[in-house]
Amino acid sequence: MSEALPQVLEESADRKSRFISDNLRRIFVQIYRVVGNVEDAQDLTQEAFIKALQRSDQIKDPKKAAHWLSRIATNTAIDFLRRRGRVSFSDIDELPEPPSSEPGESPEQMVLRSERKLYLEEGLAQLTERERLALVLRDVEGLPAAEVAKRLNCSKATVRSHIANARIKFRRYMERRQA
C-alpha cells in the first residue's frame, strides 16, 4: 500500500502533464480567437486548465476530457468577457509583425497565410462579442447550433441570428478588403 501510493501519484502527474501537452495549443487558440489578445488568452488558458485539472477524475477518457475542457475554456472566456464588459481587439491600423515561416513553406505561401490570419483577426474584430463567440464555436470549433445555444445560454433562433450576422459582416469586410 505504501509503495502503491507514490506510483498512483506519479501516474496522476503523468496523466495531467500529457493532458496539458495534448490540449494546450488548441485551447489557447480557441480562447485567443474569442478574446483577441495573447495576454488575456494566456491567463484564461491557464485558468481553464487549473479548473479542469482540479477535477482530475474527469480526465481518464482523453476524448471526453478534451470536449469537457473545451467547454470549460469557452465558459471561462465568456465569463471574462462579461466581467470586462467589452473586448479590446488589437488596433487594426497597427502595422502587422513580420510573418514567421513554417517549415517547407514558400515565401508566397507564407505571405498568403499571414494575410489570411490578419484578415481573420480584423474580420473577427468587426463583430459583436456574441456574434464572434457564436461564429468561433460554430465555424471554428464545429459545434452544432444547439450546443452553441447551450454554451451561450440563449435560444437556437438567437444563435442562428448571431451566426448569420457574423457571416454576413465577415463577407462585407472581405469585400471591402478586396475592393
Partner: protein
C-alpha cells in the same frame, strides 16, 4: 422569381437552417445559379475562417509561451491544493451516517415496543398477581390460589385491558338479556 434572403443563404451554407427553410432554399438554389454561387462563397469563407483560426498569431513564440503556461498551471494547481478545504474521508462520513441511523432505529423500535398493545387476554399486576381471561370469566391468580368472576353468556364476550392492569368484559347475560360489564381492578 423571389430569391432567399442573405440571412437564409448565410445559414444555408453552413447547414444551419431548420428543415423546412433549408428545403425551400435548396429547391430554389437548384434552379438559381446566382444563389448557388452566393451560398458557395459563404461556404468558402467559412472554411477559410476555420483554417486560419487554427493558426497561432504570427508574432508569437509558442514554445516559450507554452513552457510559461505549463509552469503557471503547475503552480496554480499546487496553490489550489494548499488553499482547498480538507476533505472529509468518505468512509468516516458513512460511519457517522450509519451510527445516526442505528440510533434512530433503536429509538423507533424501543418506542414501538414500549407502546405496543399487550395481548388482551392477560394483564400482569405488580405484586405477583396475574389477571387473566378464561372461557368462564375473569380469573385472578395468586401463586396457587385463584378467584374467577364468571360470566353467564353463551354469546362471544368482548374483552378489554387498560394500561393500569385492569380488565373488563362485555357480554349479554343469557338470563336477563341485559348487556353486562364486569370490571376487575388489581392493586
Amino acid at each position: 422569381m423571389k430569391h432567399p434572403s442573405e440571412v437564409d443563404l448565410a445559414l444555408y451554407s453552413g447547414g444551419d437552417l431548420p428543415f423546412w427553410r433549408r428545403w425551400k432554399v435548396a429547391w430554389h438554389a437548384r434552379g438559381c445559379p446566382e444563389c448557388r454561387r452566393e451560398a458557395e462563397r459563404f461556404r468558402d469563407e467559412t472554411n477559410s475562417i476555420a483554417g486560419a483560426a487554427s493558426e497561432l498569431p504570427d508574432d508569437l513564440n509558442w514554445d516559450r509561451l507554452a513552457a510559461e503556461m505549463r509552469a503557471n498551471i503547475r503552480v496554480g494547481l499546487q496553490a489550489a491544493e494548499c488553499v482547498a478545504p480538507a476533505e472529509v474521508p468518505a468512509r468516516a462520513m458513512n460511519w457517522r451516517v450509519a451510527v445516526a441511523l442505528a440510533s434512530l432505529a433503536l429509538v423507533v423500535v424501543s418506542g414501538f415496543w414500549l407502546h405496543a398493545p399487550r395481548p388482551p387476554d392477560m394483564a400482569e399486576t405488580g405484586a405477583g398477581v396475574v389477571l387473566s381471561a378464561t372461557a368462564e370469566g375473569l380469573e385472578l391468580l395468586d401463586e396457587d390460589r385463584a378467584l374467577t368472576l364468571m360470566h353467564a353468556s353463551s354469546e362471544p364476550v368482548m374483552l378489554s385491558v387498560n394500561v393500569d392492569g385492569a380488565m373488563a368484559e362485555h357480554y349479554v347475560d343469557d338470563e336477563t338479556g341485559m348487556v353486562t360489564i364486569n370490571n376487575v381492578y388489581v392493586q
